[in-house]
């Protein structure tokens, strides 16, 4: 085992076990919070995008295009430096990071949700109208439940992207998994142990999500088109 210790020293890593555990914990809960928020806002953005009112869908489309065509890092900087100017130092780094990441992920979610809604046949809406539902009722009772089943697979793909994106929050000093790696590096100056460990942790979370998403898809009987 000595040759291996020369490359990757387990003893140093074990000293930072707790740091990494905290990092993983933060990464996971930040991912989950952003996931929930972006799905929630994504539904509204998708409905806005499909609205027949010109101002509504144009605003939504512009926002979606802006987010898709600019790097997340720049968006994080814009929120991080811009937010205090708008509302003062109201949020700490982690909250700012969550806001930036939610603003970034919401358009992707909106597009996924929109694709799901569009894929529900028009006759379903017409049927709902025929039994006297208004369009909000039709959306809530008829369209969304059917759309959601088709959404699971791309949604899980986006969740993996989100998980990876949280790593960029380390740049505005949010302590998550990448942050744990950076802390270990700054204290031990051993790049291999710090960053290889970080990579392994991300891989473990990713593989768990992969297994979970396969399980969910089998449960729902959907097609196993898994793509990140």
């Amino acid at each position: 085992m000595n040759w291996l210790n020369g490359i990757y020293n387990f003893r140093i890593v074990s000293d930072y076990f707790e740091t990494f555990l905290n990092g993983i914990f933060n990464t996971v809960w930040i991912t989950l919070v952003c996931l929930g928020l972006s799905v929630f806002f994504g539904i509204f953005l998708a409905l806005m995008r499909m609205s027949s009112i010109s101002v509504m869908w144009r605003t939504a489309a512009a926002y979606i295009q802006f987010v898709r065509a600019t790097p997340l890092l720049i968006q994080i900087y814009l929120v991080y430096y811009g937010l205090p100017g708008l509302i003062g130092n109201f949020f700490d780094e982690t909250q700012t990071g969550i806001i930036a990441l939610t603003l970034h992920t919401t358009p992707y979610m909106a597009e996924i949700i929109r694709a799901g809604i569009v894929s529900v046949p028009k006759t379903q809406t017409e049927g709902a109208q025929a039994v006297g539902m208004n369009s909000a009722q039709a959306m809530y009772h008829i369209i969304l439940p059917q759309a959601i089943a088709k959404l699971i697979s791309p949604l899980l793909g986006q969740a993996v992207v989100l998980l990876k994106d949280t790593s960029l929050l380390s740049i505005i000093a949010v302590f998550e998994l990448m942050g744990a790696g950076l802390i270990m590096f700054s204290e031990t100056v051993s790049a291999t142990e710090s960053y290889v460990t970080t990579a392994i942790c991300y891989l473990l979370i990713y593989l768990m999500m992969l297994v979970a998403s396969g399980f969910i898809q089998r449960k729902l009987g959907g097609t196993a088109t898994y793509a990140t």
Binding site: I74, Y81, V160, K164
Partner: protein
């Protein structure tokens, strides 16, 4: 610099990805497992981590030709990152070509290489265009991350000017965002246009 790095990475990554993608569809189990492991690694870890691994960790292995400067590290990491996406696209496009095509080609007495070159790849190629364009946008956007290893691309240039003019922080970041937008938006439009041309849901599922 952003343009240069992203172009080199896109070209090299596409070539590597195409080769790996074709290899993945061959009948070798070991080959497929290896490529799968590679893909899972590069799609399961953040690009920032991959960049750090290649820029900070590889040199510590003590092998002379793995001592990258920031430019080489940027190209190598971005190429491998691009290739991991392209591999998946190429492999699924080849899978999307109906089996009958391959069987017919075999019935005509073509070898495996001939079948791929004359029959399968030409048909698969057009399926790859829309998802490929989406991946290129991801790659271009990823170049922003390169600023953390000090490569003087667009984002880094912006940060340098912020040091000189700290009162204009927001304006400079907005400007960077605008420049990226000008670069990426046409590619995104092209992806959407190509998607409609190819008109298959297979292409739409690939990018997320």
């Amino acid at each position: 610099m952003t343009f240069q790095v992203s172009m080199i990475a896109i070209i090299l990554g596409s070539l590597l990805g195409a080769v790996l993608g074709i290899m993945k569809t061959l009948d070798s189990r070991a080959l497929r497992l290896g490529i799968d492991a590679y893909m899972h690694f590069f799609r399961g870890t953040p690009y920032l981590v991959q960049l750090y691994l290649i820029y900070f960790v590889l040199p510590s292995l003590g092998i002379a030709w793995l001592q990258f400067d920031s430019y080489t590290a940027a190209i190598v990491s971005l190429t491998l990152y691009t290739a991991s996406y392209v591999t998946a696209i190429v492999a699924s496009a080849i899978d999307a070509v109906p089996r009958g095509q391959e069987e017919a080609a075999r019935a005509c007495g073509m070898t495996k290489a001939q079948r791929l070159y004359h029959i399968i790849v030409p048909q698969a190629l057009r399926l790859t265009v829309p998802p490929m364009a989406s991946v290129y946008v991801i790659v271009i956007k990823s170049t922003a991350v390169l600023s953390v290893i000090g490569l003087s691309e667009l984002t880094r240039q912006g940060e340098t000017s912020i040091l000189r003019m700290p009162q204009d922080t927001m304006f400079i970041y907005a400007l960077i965002a605008g420049l990226y937008f000008v670069y990426c938006y046409p590619v995104l439009r092209f992806a959407r246009w190509a998607e409609r041309r190819v008109g298959s849901s297979a292409a739409a599922q690939e990018n997320a």
